[in-house]
């Protein structure tokens, strides 16, 4: 059997349940470490093949992460023919993600795109005729993942990551130069190294923190609130934020021209986007430009177009409507608390076709529940996919950062315990290699290059 891997299996379509799938030689034993069966229940290792157990996933502090149903399938009678454990999280994607994290922290490796399928094929579960299809899956998922990863690395956090990478390369190079060229380079300044390791460790912690709060990378489904000025968009956003405890607050130091906020709508991570200045300016389209509005809308999975029942449907509303062709759109007719109603059902039908329409009032908290249901319905019907790919990429980065941090801590301990340089090097290499996983680069050569750039070698 191969090493143990885990990932979130495709979550859409099943009423908010997401599955964490674990496969490989130690799958059962490792998941057991985080699984607390309900009173009287058996541990996974004691379970027969093909059985389900109810219980909780615990984090390292012993806190319950989610109530789960865990099924054990012993190889070869499983999808991959290896020992497989599936953790069904009914809290949806977000708790599933946390469960996955816990699994990963017990030494399970995050699966590569298509790796389960690859294993199923190699191990004879899928027949020959499916080979090409398997290759397609791997290829397309990888390519998509790479596109997402690239986009993520281009942003501010990506820059930060590369900065850390650069510094770690520097530390590595100093240690390695001292080992490989002792006479030319001399000793490593251990105090300086310790200081730098500490600093880098702290920076890592910081981005990890930011990332954990879900803000750093894109994930979940993207909802854009559109509408002409004064219809109540900001009010809607605030109301949604208040009801659904925002997952994150703003992060200082990251510059964006789009204000984004995350919501947890029935377990689905939802990122609500509002263009910058939306709140201040009275003429959005003019201020941010049609182009930018188009861009924001293009990225959206769902658009909520807001109308003001007191103002009636104007040309401006229709212009916005025209920008939304082909989008999953929900129409919210706002301010229904006002006595004067200038929008009729007939008008709506004529002008907005079969887009779902909700009548309500942000001010009076009417229709918001309905709105959330409408979003959920789109997601669950599979019309909008909560992007598990993005989440996986995101998680891969985080996992890499986490591993890097673990190595940094070990390095710090090695320094404190006054261990020799060759041991310290193991940990510092480990940290760098973990980071390389995030950026998809093999950094060993970079270190060697750095040695020659920085030190005059050649006695």
């Amino acid at each position: 059997m191969e090493d143990t891997i885990a990932a979130i299996a495709t979550p859409s379509g099943e009423g908010g349940i997401a599955i964490v799938r674990v496969s490989g030689e130690n799958a059962i034993e490792l998941v057991d470490k985080i699984f607390l069966p309900v009173a009287g229940g058996r541990s996974l290792q004691e379970r027969a093949g093909y059985s389900m157990g109810l219980g909780w996933v615990l984090d390292r502090e012993g806190q319950k992460v989610d109530e789960v149903l865990v099924s054990v399938m012993r190889g070869p009678r499983s999808y991959t023919t290896e020992d497989v454990v599936e953790i069904n999280c009914h809290g949806g994607l977000l708790p599933a993600r946390r469960c996955l994290e816990e699994v990963l922290h017990r030494g399970v490796r995050l699966a590569e795109p298509g790796e389960f399928t690859r294993r199923a094929f190699i191990n004879g579960r899928l027949d020959l005729s499916q080979a090409e299809a398997v290759i397609d899956v791997i290829r397309s998922r990888t390519d998509k993942g790479m596109r997402i990863a690239l986009r993520q690395l281009e942003g501010g956090p990506g820059r930060k990551l590369r900065e850390i990478e650069e510094r770690l390369i520097g530390i590595n190079a100093r240690i390695e130069a001292s080992i490989d060229f002792p006479e030319e380079v001399g000793d490593v300044d251990e105090e300086a190294a310790a200081r730098e390791l500490l600093e880098v460790g702290r920076e890592l912690e910081q981005i990890l923190d930011v990332s954990r709060r879900g803000r750093i990378y894109r994930q979940g489904i993207k909802v854009v609130i559109a509408g002409k000025p004064n219809v109540g968009k900001s009010s809607l956003l605030n109301a949604l934020l208040q009801e659904n405890k925002a997952i994150v607050t703003d992060i200082p130091g990251t510059t964006r021209d789009v204000v984004e906020d995350y919501l947890n709508i029935r377990g689905i991570p939802v990122r609500v986007m509002d263009t910058a200045g939306w709140r201040e300016t009275k003429d959005v389209v003019e201020k941010i430009g049609v182009e930018r509005t188009r861009e924001v809308i293009a990225e959206a999975d769902v658009v909520i177009v807001v109308l003001d029942v007191g103002a009636g449907i104007s040309q401006e509303d229709l212009d916005i409507r025209d920008l939304l062709a082909g989008k999953k759109t929900i129409v919210l007719v706002n301010k229904e608390d006002l006595p004067e109603k200038r929008i009729t059902t007939q008008e709506l039908e004529e002008m907005f076709g079969d887009w779902p329409v909700i009548r309500g009032s942000v001010k009076e908290d009417m229709g918001l529940e309905e709105l959330e249901q409408a979003i959920e319905k789109l997601v669950l019907r599979g019309e909008v996919q909560a992007d598990d790919m993005e989440m996986m990429v995101n998680l891969r980065h985080e996992e890499a950062l986490h591993q890097a941090k673990v190595h940094m801590e070990a390095a710090k301990m090695a320094l404190e315990a006054d261990l020799s340089l060759d041991c310290l090097a193991v940990d510092v290499w480990g940290a760098l290699e973990a980071l390389g996983e995030a950026t998809g680069r093999n950094l060993r050569e970079d270190v060697i290059d750095r040695i020659f750039e920085e030190f005059c070698i050649g006695k």
Partner: protein, 641 residues
């Protein structure tokens, strides 16, 4: 035209050639070693030293496998030191200064005494191959020597060109000529060739140096040997000397930089970053106003001193002015000037991990001809090429060392997989499992293999077995024997080290794990017998103190080896593999990795490509199984009729 028959022919008697020839002959093959000059055997044309980080590990590995370099340097050395003593056991490395003349003499003697081995002075001009199988070599005199396997170890001689200032001429390392025809012949045979540049510093007369203005660098005052087989006795040591370049030196260089062939464009080969010329150092590290210069004797009975750190191809008058600006060298008399040398090499991605060329069956290349630098790198390759040539002749399986087994394996895998754009030098940083690949445990790693290959003799193998047994026995004792609180010697020791008294019983092994306790303390306290050899003691100490780290690396190795175990069939057609990215298709076709592990290390090949490859291989396997099954069914049907 005369014809002679051999099983293995080795061309070139440098460090690679000597190991290759000895290995093949020792493994029982009728072997011929052809060299341009019998006086040039095992020549050290550059620095007069062997060892240093990574290189010492290589020498130890050569020795553990039954090669000659370790024994030979032990005979020829005039100084030995242990480097990196403060940086941990994994990176400790010996380095010896050699008496160059003795080194050559001893190696020549060994070659001459070797059974199955003949030596011949000639220039090989041509390799003959028939339908991809090597057949013979033809020398400058037109003689033809037939062979089943051929190992090419021609160093920096291929189309060698010496450059000093604005003078340049054809030539090999001083004082030998270049080999020009052979390089052309290799191109004709279809090999991609590259061009490298390296250099050497001037040699200065000992009596012209004022050593009072330099700093003495003596050898270590303890018994150190490269070879596990060398007698453990002390030898007299001579010193090296350290001085520094001055701002004046750098000024002279800058004033004359326009006369350097590196800057006039005369030199086209790629130079080394780890062994730059002095003028390069001055230009690239302009902020440093001083560089270290080591003065090293080239032997006990020669006046020549090697000016380490002074590689240069500046014109002769500038070389002199530069030297005279350095403390201690004010009146230096130059015996040999420094020069740069350019030469052709075989692009090593054309090689298998056995160092056999893919193009021509039976043709192996090893050493600097593969684009590496260094005597040790050359020798280790020579050994592997010689072993594999012999094994091929005898119809045996290839012998390949993995990255997890030896630095030699790291080097050859790097060369064949990653490609090179400068002369390749092994660094300990290139090894992922450095903690396991130490110079101290080379015998434990490799001597058994050397024995199986027929290169390590019975007595040596028995010694290894005894050592292994003894180590296991002592370790078991240390892990089992419990020291109770109140143990007088131990409590005294702990008190002396400012440690608290024992609270619970501990094993000797646990005690040793404490940073403040060393193996010597245990011996003194009577917990480990004085009779246990020093070598075993220090190895156990490493195993104990570094247990956690070693375990981590062992686990990594297990994962690594799983990927290595997945073989890629020889004839795979990458154009037929669907779903590979274009970049990786190109690289895979070039490198032709032998395992999935090697494929994953090939630059440009992503994880997805590796997964796609795995599926393709499985598909292939199943369809061929299917076909076989089909054929069998037909066979039985036919039989019944």
């Amino acid at each position: 035209m005369e014809s002679h028959d051999y099983e293995v022919i080795v061309v070139g008697a440098g460090h690679a050639g000597c190991e290759a020839a000895l290995a093949a002959a020792r493994m029982g093959c009728k072997t011929l070693l052809i060299t341009l000059s019998l006086d040039g055997i095992a020549l050290m044309p550059c620095n007069p030293s062997i060892g240093g980080p990574a290189k010492a590990q290589l020498v130890r590995e050569i020795d553990a496998l039954g090669g000659e370099m370790g024994i030979n340097i032990d005979k020829a050395r005039i100084q030995i030191r242990m480097l990196n003593t403060g940086r941990g056991p994994a990176v400790q490395a010996m380095r010896a200064q050699a008496d160059k003349e003795v080194y050559q003499k001893e190696m020549t003697r060994t070659l001459l005494a070797q059974e199955n081995l003949e030596l011949l002075e000639a220039e090989v001009e041509r390799i003959e191959a028939d339908s991809g199988q090597v057949e013979a070599v033809v020398t400058d005199s037109g003689d033809r020597y037939r062979t089943k396997a051929l190992v090419l170890t021609t160093g920096t001689y291929l189309k060698g060109r010496i450059i000093i200032g604005d003078i340049s001429y054809e030539g090999g390392p001083h004082p030998l000529p270049a080999a020009t025809k052979l390089s052309e012949n290799l191109r004709e045979l279809g090999f991609a060739m590259g061009r490298h540049k390296t250099g050497t510093p001037p040699r200065v007369a000992r009596e012209s140096i004022d050593f009072t203005r330099t700093e003495e660098q003596p050898g270590d005052d303890r018994i150190l040997n490269f070879s596990y087989m060398s007698p453990k006795k002390k030898k007299p040591q001579v010193s090296c000397w350290l001085t520094h370049s001055t701002p004046r030196t750098h000024e002279i260089v800058m004033q004359n930089i326009h006369r350097s062939p590196l800057y006039t464009g005369v030199i086209k080969g790629t130079g080394t970053r780890y062994c730059p010329s002095f003028e390069d150092k001055v230009v690239q590290f302009a902020d440093k106003d001083s560089h270290q210069i080591f003065i090293e004797p080239e032997g006990l009975h020669t006046d020549e001193m090697y000016i380490q750190g002074m590689n240069t191809s500046l014109p002769e008058d500038v070389q002199l002015a530069v030297l005279h600006s350095i403390p201690g060298l004010e009146n230096a008399r130059v015996l040999k000037r420094g020069y740069a040398i350019e030469y052709d090499y075989v692009v090593p991605s054309q090689l298998r991990l056995t160092l056999e060329t893919r193009e021509i069956h039976g043709l192996f290349t090893a050493g600097q001809v593969n684009g590496t630098s260094g005597y040790e790198e050359a020798a280790a390759q020579g050994l592997i090429a010689g072993i594999n040539a012999a094994r091929q002749v005898k119809g045996q399986e290839p012998f390949i060392l993995k990255r997890s087994e030896a630095f030699t394996g790291v080097m050859i895998d790097d060369l064949t997989t990653k490609g090179i754009n400068e002369p390749y030098r092994l660094l300990t940083s290139r090894a992922e499992y450095r903690l396991l690949l130490r110079q101290d445990n080379a015998d434990l790693r490799l001597t058994r293999m050397g024995y199986q290959l027929g290169l390590v003799k019975e007595d040596r193998f028995r010694r290894l077995q005894q050592k292994v047994e003894k180590m296991a026995e002592v370790r078991q004792e240390m892990e089992e024997y419990r020291i109770k609180p109140g143990h007088p010697e131990v409590e005294a020791l702990l008190a002396e080290r400012d440690q608290g008294r024992l609270r619970d019983a501990v094993t000797i092994w646990e005690l040793l794990r404490r940073p403040e306790i060393g193996m010597d303390d245990l011996v003194q306290a009577g917990l480990v017998s004085e009779e246990v050899e020093e070598e075993i003691r220090s190895q156990l100490e490493i195993e104990c103190k570094y247990e956690g780290y070693i375990k981590k690396q062992v686990e990594q190795v297990e994962r690594f080896e799983r990927m290595e175990a997945k073989r890629i069939p020889e004839g795979i057609d990458y154009d037929e593999v669907p779903g590979l990215s274009n970049e990786s298709r190109v690289k895979l076709k070039e490198v032709r990795p032998e395992s999935i592990g090697q494929a994953s290390r090939t630059p440009g090949v992503s994880v997805a490509d590796v997964n796609v490859l795995l599926i393709y291989l499985e598909k292939k396997r199943r369809s061929s199984e299917h076909e076989r099954g089909f054929a069998e069914v037909q066979g039985t049907a036919a039989g019944r009729e």
